[in-house]
């Protein structure tokens, strides 16, 4: 028994664990972590021009900048529970632009799970499924999007730091959330009709689709 005990106590990992536990005992965890999280998040916030990848560009994205934004929003989702839904919404958007559709879908679904009164993830899922010609899924999400109380989405967006950071970086000035939502709802309605018809190759639907150019959005 003594030999075994001696064997255990002379392992390097035991020293490390003992030291770790001792530090943990005297550590004020809240003070320790609060400062670290705030400082780190502040430094991690991508420069304004990184966010313009969201708002001002439709094509030719800078992959590196988008990946930075993606990581930033992952950290926001990790550290700030009160902004989790919007952070997941943004994550979905980044993934979609990076061509990682399954991750985008998962992120949008996560955003919905966190806040069911958030219009854009429903809308974006509708667009993704519509583009994939999965019309019944698209129809389901677009119907849910139109069922969301618009006031709640506006309140969510207006209070969100995540949205504020992105919107402030827009070169042409900040967007009007209300106008954006109104346009989004109109487009959701048209897409819903198209999905219901389930025949986007028909001439009428094609012209509508050409007019609409469905794309994911976050406001």
């Amino acid at each position: 028994m003594l030999v075994f005990l001696k064997f255990i106590l002379t392992r390097t990992i035991v020293l490390y664990l003992a030291c770790f536990l001792l530090i943990w005992r005297i550590l004020d965890y809240n003070q320790f972590i609060d400062n670290a999280v705030n400082q780190t998040m502040s430094r991690l916030t991508p420069p304004m021009d990184y966010f313009t990848e969201f708002v001002d560009k439709e094509n030719h994205f800078d992959r590196f900048k988008l990946m930075n934004c993606l990581n930033y929003h992952q950290e926001v989702a990790h550290f700030f529970p009160f902004q989790k839904a919007e952070a997941y919404g943004m994550l979905g958007f980044c993934y979609e632009r990076l061509g990682q559709i399954p991750q985008a879908v998962a992120s949008y679904k996560q955003a919905i799970a966190l806040n069911a009164d958030y219009f854009w993830p429903y809308y974006d899922l509708g667009v993704i499924f519509y583009k994939q010609t999965q019309y019944s899924q698209a129809e389901s999400y677009l119907t849910q999007a139109l069922g969301v109380n618009p006031v709640k989405t506006i309140v969510l967006l207006s209070r969100s730091k995540v949205y504020n950071d992105v919107n402030l970086s827009r070169q042409k000035g900040p967007l009007d959330y209300l106008q954006g939502l109104e346009d989004g709802r109109k487009e959701a309605y048209i897409l819903l009709m198209l999905s219901k018809a389930s025949q986007p190759h028909q001439q009428g639907a094609q012209s509508l689709e050409q007019y609409l150019k469905p794309r994911v959005r976050f406001f």
């Binding site: 392992r11 005297i26 320790f32 972590i33 400082q39």
Partner: protein, 698 residues
């Protein structure tokens, strides 16, 4: 393998590793990519120092930094006694452009530190394989990236050499080890903030006394014998070490008197010493640096200031977890833990306690630098100790060998699953894990030897990941476009300061200046940028009147004066009493007279960092304003006769000039300042030569 062959083999692999390192950073080392952040400033001030030395001037004043500032601060920052800076001069003299000379010097200097680390590891482990692995892990750690965005190397390199020489001296008390210690200490103590190193040294000594108490009599006995045999050398070295502290103390005193200020750094730290830093600047510390780095676990995003050591070190660290603990592991681990705990200002009590009771903790910030200066090399050392711990687990019994193989496999599987679960690893991480599995399995079976194949496998295993990481790192680097600030023709005297290509020295909006003379900062903060910019376009002015003003009211009056180019200079009434206030021109003009290229009575005779000599021919007595910051160490002479120098227009130098032809000479500094700096540089050089001599001819 014979010792000679073994040495040749290791020299080859070290050389090869360095070639690979150069390849990984070829963009930076060929100046294709920009230096950034602090590295820029160090590049500029090193250039200024080296170029002045090349022209026979020891630059104690920098006339280009915010209209003149004492250069002592920058000399302390770069560690001006460092004899290795002469390598830049040598490269320049054979025709290599300064930028490349500087970058290659940095690379070689860094390689020197990694070689010192190898030698240190050899002294500890007496095993080339282990020492070489330590060399590789350190060389390809993130320390190397900091050559191009920071100044870490100027502390890390002499620090590693110091500990190597210290250990070597403790083992065998030889003269070159002693001189090596002295030279490293000289370089470290000559910096304006030697406290990083001193803290580490204190912890090192405390823990050494605690853990290696039974070795102390032997070590001290060796020191005593060496001292008895080399009294003169030891006393001379101690004296030089003491003198090397004097420039830093002098700088400290100058800053205490307000001759130089660091507003940006000082912030709202209170009215005390300008070198003090406010507590909130400590908010970014080691924990924050590590948390920030953890965000870059997707190494495709790797960039400057992200802590990174080749992932092989983690595998090795885990491998040693279940080995028997050693005294060295305890020592290194406790040193890391103690240093880490004492530099965390939030959540642990130690730092606040020390901040309150140790005066020098108020003088430096950037506590996260401890990671780069000490914790990375210490971590690599700890990992090497884990290697040793692991090798002691290796047995000859086949059953035990099987168990060990299973353990190796289990560790690698755990690491693999961890990496796979995170879902963001780069391909080379998986390759490294596979190669590491092969390597450690062979080690467990005692099938791997320190021969060419062994070194090749080890090199490949360690380097495969950092090479991919630094590839991504280079992709994000900024291409080198415009010249750096001191790449302009800075060693010439210009009467007009309106070169459109040169960076503006008056910032476009009010900001906290990083470092400047106290007098310039006073004017900068009290006069609008527009007025200051207009006024400072001309280097030398002639006026006919002096106006005495209370310091409290000087701002608006200077503003008016600068905007209108009034024919008068402003002088503080508390220093200007009894001074002649008007010249003898019967028809003075309304505006100040600008001495520019069209002014016929001016002829430049000599100019360098510390001097300005010119001939001036004026028909009447005039007051000359030289728009270069005032400092008490400046002196002026007219026709070789010393004259009183005045602080005019808030920040600048002024003097009454008689009618007719005069030779005016401004000069900076006292003889002892030059003597001290030059003497220390000479001693550093002598010590370096001594190290080489005694190493070659023991």
């Amino acid at each position: 393998m014979s010792e000679k062959n073994s040495q040749r083999l290791i020299a080859f692999w070290i050389f090869l590793a360095f070639v690979v390192w150069i390849f990984a950073f070829r963009g930076f080392l060929s100046s294709k990519f920009d230096l950034t952040s602090d590295a820029l400033s160090y590049y500029d001030h090193t250039k200024f120092f080296i170029e002045n030395l090349a022209h026979g001037t020891y630059p104690l004043w920098d006339p280009y930094w915010y209209y003149g500032s004492p250069n002592d601060f920058f000399l302390r920052r770069i560690g001006a006694f460092n004899p290795f800076f002469f390598a830049i001069l040598i490269l320049k003299s054979i025709g290599v452009p300064y930028t490349l000379s500087y970058l290659w010097f940095l690379a070689a200097y860094y390689l020197g530190a990694t070689i010192a680390f190898y030698l240190l590891a050899m002294r500890i482990y007496r095993d080339r394989f282990i020492a070489y692995a330590g060399f590789l892990m350190l060389l390809f750690s993130a320390l190397g990236t900091r050559l191009f965005d920071s100044y870490m190397m100027l502390v890390t390199v002499p620090m590693i050499w110091f500990f190597y020489f210290l250990l070597a001296f403790c083992q065998t008390a030889r003269k070159h080890f002693f001189l090596g210690m002295v030279l490293s200490l000289m370089i470290l103590l000559g910096t304006y903030i030697p406290f990083y190193f001193l803290i580490c040294l204190v912890f090192f000594m405390l823990l050494f006394f605690l853990i290696y108490f039974n070795q102390i009599p032997r070590v001290l006995g060796g020191f005593a014998v060496f001292f008895k045999e080399n009294k003169i050398l030891v006393l001379l070295s101690m004296m030089v070490l003491f003198i090397s502290l004097l420039p830093a103390i002098n700088f400290f005193q100058n800053s205490a008197h307000g001759q130089v200020v660091l507003p940006f750094r000082h912030g709202d730290a209170g009215l005390g010493q300008t070198l003090t830093v406010p507590h909130q600047t400590l908010d970014w510390g080691a924990v924050e640096d590590l948390m920030y780095s953890s965000y870059f676990s997707n190494l495709r995003l790797y960039k400057f200031a992200v802590v990174y050591v080749p992932f092989f070190s983690i595998v090795l660290f885990v491998l040693g977890f279940f080995g028997e603990i050693t005294r060295l592991a305890v020592f290194v681990f406790l040193l890391i833990a103690a240093l880490f705990c004492c530099i965390v200002p939030h959540g642990l009590l130690f730092y606040d306690f020390f901040y309150k009771h140790l005066f020098f903790l108020k003088y430096f910030r950037n506590l996260h630098f401890f990671i780069w200066f000490f914790l990375i090399p210490l971590f690599v050392l700890l990992v090497l100790e884990h290697w040793k711990i692991f090798t002691e687990m290796v047995r000859t019994n086949s059953h035990q060998k099987k168990l060990l193989l299973m353990y190796v496999f289990g560790v690698h599987l755990t690491v693999f699953l961890f990496v796979w679960y995170r879902n963001d690893a780069i391909l080379s991480t998986y390759v490294m894990i596979l190669l590491s599995l092969v390597f450690w399995s062979l080690m467990a079976l005692k099938l791997l030897r320190a021969n060419a194949w062994g070194f090749a496998l080890l090199t490949l295993t360690i380097l495969v990941q950092p090479l991919e990481v630094y590839h991504y790192f280079s992709l994000k680097a900024n291409p080198h476009g415009s010249p750096y600030a001191y790449d302009f023709s800075y060693n010439s005297f210009k009467l007009n300061d309106n070169d459109p290509a040169k960076p503006a020295k008056v910032p476009s909006s009010k900001e906290m200046l990083y470092y400047t003379s106290g007098s310039y900062n006073f004017v900068f903060q009290n006069v609008s940028d527009l007025a200051l910019k207009k006024y400072l376009q001309c280097k030398i002015l002639l006026v006919d009147r002096l106006k005495l003003i209370d310091r409290a009211w000087v701002g608006p009056i200077l503003q008016q004066n600068f905007l209108n180019s009034d024919n008068e200079a402003v002088i503080f009434d508390d220093v200007g009493k009894g001074i002649k206030s008007t010249g003898n021109d019967p028809h003075p003009s309304l505006k100040a007279q600008h001495v520019d290229n069209s002014f016929r009575g001016f002829k430049l005779l000599a100019f360098d960092a510390n001097h300005l000599r010119f001939r001036l021919d004026v028909p009447y007595e005039k007051f000359l304003v030289y728009n270069d910051s005032y400092d008490p160490y400046w002196k002026v002479s007219i026709n070789h006769i010393k004259a009183p120098l005045m602080q005019v227009n808030g920040a600048f130098k002024g003097i009454w000039v008689p009618a007719g032809k005069s030779i005016i000479e401004f000069s900076y500094g006292c003889w002892w300042q030059y003597a001290m700096n030059i003497l220390l540089s000479i001693f550093a050089f002598i010590f370096l030569m001594g190290i080489i001599y005694y190493a070659c001819f023991p």
